[in-house]
């Protein structure tokens, strides 16, 4: 057996035979070098496959299927409302993350540490006042955009087949967004926060069968206190951000795959 390397695929001669520019030579040499060791061609193929899958569209859009040529509709500007919800959500997330550096969820003391930390944010922290304002307004505007987005989906009939599941997902999203807002509303632990929490507990307790369990789970008991505040805090900064972000991604992903519903 010869020690000389037997190479069926003599890439070097192949490279020489071709008339390549220096850039092409360097690229191919590097590619072949890496591929010999890591067999990246397989992964490139996977990537390519994924690339085409990502760009998948439903085979024919509605306007094409029915050969309609008026492709603009005066409702179209309202189709940006979903995107505006996403934008406002992002603004709220960023400002909320910054607020998180200064807020402390503790109901100890009088007035409570939580209340005082919000006060500190508003009076002492550089731009703290602006930060809290931006966070609140971004949340409010997101809710407004979501409501209007839902109305546009309703009045353009976009919830019909095959988009029923996205409508249901939307209902879940809007509900979770409201819980998001509610839990955030309780965090400053001021009068309105406390009494809104009180009503929440009463409503939970009024629900048959699961009520007491739900009150324990969400509010940490039947009277408001430290446990309530911490639960609201964990929901608001730890659980809901991840869940809602993931669901928004899924929601928009489904729109991506299905395409925007078109008018006639």
């Amino acid at each position: 057996m010869s020690l000389e390397k037997q190479d069926d695929f003599d890439h070097r001669t192949w490279l020489k035979r071709k008339d390549l520019t220096p850039i092409e030579t360097v690229f191919l040499t590097a590619l072949i070098y890496i591929d010999k060791r890591l067999r990246i061609v397989d992964y490139l193929e996977l990537l390519e496959d994924a690339y085409y899958k990502v760009n998948l569209q439903m085979p024919k859009s509605h306007t094409e299927q029915y050969d309609l040529d008026n492709k603009f509709w005066y409702w179209y500007p309202l189709y940006s409302l979903g995107f505006f919800s996403v934008l406002a959500y992002i603004v709220a997330a960023v400002s909320g993350a910054l607020l998180g550096f200064y807020y402390s969820p503790s109901a100890a003391g009088d007035p409570t540490v939580a209340y005082q930390s919000v006060k500190m944010i508003m009076q002492d922290v550089q731009f703290g006042y602006a930060l809290r304002s931006i966070h609140r307004w971004a949340a409010q505007i997101m809710m407004a955009a979501v409501f209007l987005h839902m109305l546009r989906v309703y009045f353009t009939g976009s919830y019909k087949e095959p988009r029923e599941l996205n409508w249901l997902l939307g209902i879940i999203l809007i509900s979770l967004s409201m819980v998001f807002g509610y839990t955030g509303y309780l965090l400053p632990w001021n009068q309105l926060a406390f009494w809104a929490g009180q009503i929440g507990v009463e409503m939970a307790l009024a629900t048959p069968i699961v009520g007491e369990w739900g009150a324990q789970l969400l509010f940490g008991g039947f009277t408001l206190g430290q446990a309530t505040l911490v639960r609201m805090y964990i929901l608001h900064v730890f659980i809901l951000p991840f869940v809602v972000t993931a669901l928004i991604a899924l929601h928009v992903g489904i729109v991506w795959v299905q395409g925007i519903a078109e008018p006639h």
């Binding site: 071709k18 995107f83 307004w137 087949e161 409508w167 509610y182 009463e202 629900t207 006639h264």
Partner: protein, 262 residues
């Protein structure tokens, strides 16, 4: 890199249209690699059905794509860069700027600290929960039953919670109630009327949440809250019915030629 002398194209799937996914695996399919077709025949029961369906679905997509002129048509859309990116970026910046402007102009206040021993006269959540809060305050409508000596079958709080469940449930159920392919409100005046009335109800029921700020007797407020949306719905219906004929005529005649209304 125009030189293709060494390329030897090998067909590995026997010339059938490649709808069976056999070409996308990491290992190039050879005689040993089962195609979807073969995998299907080796399976039975549910998994066979699954493979059969996948094959059908892929073939259907493939055929539709082949007869579609979507990819080949002259103007597919504006290029992503620069047109779409700059336009979307401008709109996004404007929107975010608007949020910042409003925040700067109208900063929030911080109320008094929580005091469990003094109930404020007005307890309100954020505005977007008013509708739900209003539904919680429907206790005047909770019927007392004569058989129970006028006492109520369910507590007022539970009544409010149920009202919320019913409203959210009804909205969630919408796609299963209104089917079909109509998209424009004029095509379905009834559902447009439901929508307009429903959106208006969200506002009137929110007013019930702040009932003690409104200088009207509660009974009148409740009447307005429930009758107002119905009136608006009826008006919407009448308006759309009236407009419908003229509107649809000019709208898209070809649409009706292609898909006559049911």
């Amino acid at each position: 890199m125009s030189d293709t002398d060494d390329t030897n194209e090998t067909r590995t799937d026997g010339g059938e249209p490649a709808t069976d996914g056999g070409e996308t695996g990491i290992v190039a399919p050879d005689d040993e690699t089962p195609t979807w077709q073969e995998r299907k025949t080796r399976k039975s029961g549910l998994s066979q059905l699954t493979y059969e369906y996948f094959e059908r679905a892929r073939r259907e997509d493939q055929e539709l794509r082949e007869e579609s002129d979507y990819v080949e048509r002259d103007v597919l859309g504006f290029p992503t860069w620069p047109h779409e990116i700059i336009r979307n970026g401008a709109i996004s910046l404007f929107f975010v700027g608007m949020i910042l402007l409003i925040s700067a102009a109208l900063p929030p206040s911080l109320e008094l600290p929580a005091n469990p021993s003094s109930t404020p006269s007005i307890i309100l959540p954020d505005w977007y929960l008013y509708w739900s809060f209003g539904l919680l305050k429907l206790n005047p409508l909770n019927p007392g039953l004569a058989v129970l000596d006028g006492s109520k079958l369910i507590s007022d709080q539970l009544y409010g919670v149920l009202a919320n469940v019913v409203v959210v449930g009804a909205v969630a159920f919408l796609p299963f109630l209104n089917k079909g392919s109509a998209r424009r409100p004029v095509e379905q005046p009834f559902w447009a009327a439901i929508g307009a009335g429903g959106a208006f109800f969200a506002i009137t029921i929110a007013a019930i949440a702040v009932q003690n700020l409104i200088p009207l007797p509660l009974a009148l407020q409740l009447n307005i809250a429930f009758i107002g949306p119905v009136v608006l719905g009826v008006m919407t219906y009448a308006l759309l019915k009236t407009l419908r004929e003229g509107y649809m005529y000019g709208l898209n005649r070809r649409y009706y030629m292609l898909r006559p209304p049911k």
